[in-house]
């Protein structure tokens, strides 16, 4: 690259934004990374261990931290990109503080939000003491302490798959892809931390699509005695002992099932982030029926927006795991560089 380095703004400092920023910086571009939180990192910051190998999340967090320790990268935190518009031959973005930044291109990496489990009212999240989300279970792993709300140790935990995914009632037809394998990983971790605690996974299908996922699923059954029941939980309530009571249809046994649980973990799915939706609305970026950003082609234009100079990276386009998010971010950089070279 000759002369003043070209400038790329990245909206969102999660895994995709960080990887895109690091890759662009390595290639000599000037990068402004705009993150809405207190620090870059995204959802992984709360995570304890990662599937499929249950490696400590800290290893990947450390990789990501180093990725943006680069003189070409300027990080702006507690800020969101509100609007992207064309300006001269490049783009200008409006930031939440009222300031404006100009650049040669923008990569949108606004990511996802976890489904708000309160919307599945029948599960009683936010009402019953021991209904938690998969993210909250991960925080328990971080504290190395799995306990009920009253501080006692659970003897039976149920993990409920597809909470907010593949569910017309909450207007989410899409599969969030990572929840099944997350449940398997978390089930194993519970069994390892609390060997006397029974663990049940209630699933619709086990979507073990990634490398080593199927192996992890087998390991859960063969070596950790995790019970898998094919059936969706219809409702939860509490009994006089404040123990959760769930109703499920066991579709393999072909009979209804009632079970008491100490903790019910809701495997919350992915939804398009609210900040990304606002940005899309303000900037005229198209969204699909699943509300994620729509790319120009599902197969060969998967990082391209319909707006010149604007590219997409990561889970703002669809649910994906960390591996795919990093690959997608690198591909977004390739498209961005191709565009900038042609300017």
């Amino acid at each position: 690259m000759k002369g003043t380095p070209q400038h790329v703004i990245i909206a969102g400092g999660g895994v995709a934004g960080i990887e895109a920023a690091g890759t662009l910086a390595d290639l000599g571009y000037r990068v402004t990374l705009v993150e809405k939180g207190d620090e870059p990192g995204g959802h992984i910051l709360q995570w304890h261990a990662l599937f499929p190998d249950r490696r400590p999340a800290g290893e990947v967090k450390s990789y990501l931290r180093k990725r943006i320790e680069h003189r070409n990268i300027n990080i702006i935190t507690r800020t969101t990109v509100e609007k992207i518009r064309h300006h001269g031959g490049g783009v200008a973005v409006n930031l939440s503080g009222g300031t404006e930044e100009k650049a040669d291109a923008v990569i949108v990496a606004t990511g996802f939000e976890l489904f708000d489990a309160r919307r599945k009212e029948e599960y009683g999240y936010g009402i019953y003491d021991n209904v938690i989300t998969s993210a909250e279970l991960e925080e328990m792993f971080n504290r190395n302490r799995i306990v009920k709300a009253d501080g006692t140790v659970p003897s039976r935990i149920g993990l409920i798959h597809c909470v907010g995914s593949r569910d017309e009632k909450v207007n989410n037809n899409h599969c969030s892809k990572v929840c099944c394998v997350t449940a398997v990983k978390q089930a194993i971790e519970i069994r390892k931390m609390l060997p006397s605690c029974e663990v049940f996974c209630f699933y619709m299908d086990m979507r073990m699509y990634g490398p080593y996922y199927e192996e992890l699923y087998r390991e859960a059954q063969e070596f950790h005695n995790v019970n898998f029941i094919r059936g969706k939980v219809s409702e939860a309530s509490v009994n006089i002992n404040n123990r959760l009571v769930i109703k499920v249809e066991d579709t393999l046994a072909g009979r209804p099932l009632r079970m008491e649980l100490d903790i019910m973990v809701l495997m919350v799915g992915m939804e398009m982030a609210g900040s990304g939706m606002k940005l899309a609305e303000a900037s005229g970026m198209k969204r699909g029926i699943n509300r994620f950003l729509e790319t120009t082609d599902h197969h060969y234009g998967n990082n391209l927006s319909s707006i010149k100079g604007v590219f997409y990276a990561g889970t703002c386009t669809a649910p994906m795991n960390i591996t795919d998010t990093i690959s997608h971010a690198r591909a977004a950089v390739a498209e961005t560089v191709r565009y900038l070279n042609g300017k």
Binding site: R118, E121, E122, G124, Y125, G126, I127, Y128, D129, E235, S237, V238, N239, I240, N242, V245
Partner: protein, 353 residues
Amino acid sequence: MKPEGKKRIWAEYQKEIPDDHFFYVRSCIRQTFFAGSEQYFLKILRDDLGKDVYEDPRHTTCTGIGYHGDVVPFETIQAVVARHFALATEAGYKHIAISCVTSFGIYSEILETWKHFPETLERTREDLYKATGRTFEVPETISHTSDIIYKFRDEIARKAKYNLIDIATGKPLKVVEHIGCHYSKMFPKYGVGGAEFPHVLVGMIESWGGDIIDYPERRHCCGFGFRQYLVQANRGYSLFASRKKFESMEPYRPDMIIANCPGCTMFMDRWQYTIKEIEGITYGSDERGIPVLTYEEVAGLILGYNPWELGLQYHNVQSLQLLRKMGIKADPAERFLAKDGSRLPEPANLING
């Protein structure tokens, strides 16, 4: 249990309940089984709260039993309900107060159908005009009568002569609430508090001093479903559904059940007798049964009306123990005495009678 979680849901499911001027449509079942409830709904609204409630003697059944029994087509029931709207329009009323949960569900279903398929509204207008020469305006609001008592629950509490408190211990009475499925399970937005954690009856009980029991089968249907009890061979389903609820609530030792659906009130009351006959089990503290009351009956007790004028003696499970707990002096010997001193018919096989 986190009360703030329930309050958040309740805040999301608030509906417009008018303050006054109601066109009242009665319930076939309630007029028959709990005649005092409808009478006292009108009395409380008119005399205690000073509201205008209009009744038209030309109002008919909504035909809901036939509709759910698959003998009345949807087009027909739309025309029948449209005729009720025409009567309200002719009388100058825009707010419908519906006494029956089945009717309430039907009115909700029809209004939603007209909203999403406007051609069905036009077809109904045409059908009604051809059949009766009437025209109608779509009402501004529909309220179930429990919505209306809910709206005025605090006003009723301010006029209370009794509370849902055990006068011997000073502790709140333990109350099971049960909403009819067709109140909000079909269209949660039409019910106060939605379908999963409905507030309509909870709000009344809390305002009147009682404690609500949240038991595992709280959401379960009472089993009233028309196809279940109309077809004799299916009645076991109905009985079993109620039994499931009783077994689930029994460990909490409830003092009473309050329901807002005529079918639920009737079946949860009557099935206690049936279960006693079949299994020899009587639920409730000291095996006295669990009284099942309508919300108007509870409101009437709170306001100090005579339990026998409210009609509590015509429930299968008698409420004597409950009345004693609340401090209401009611002579059991007067239960079946008419105002003119003659004897009223006395039902057989009463529980705690």
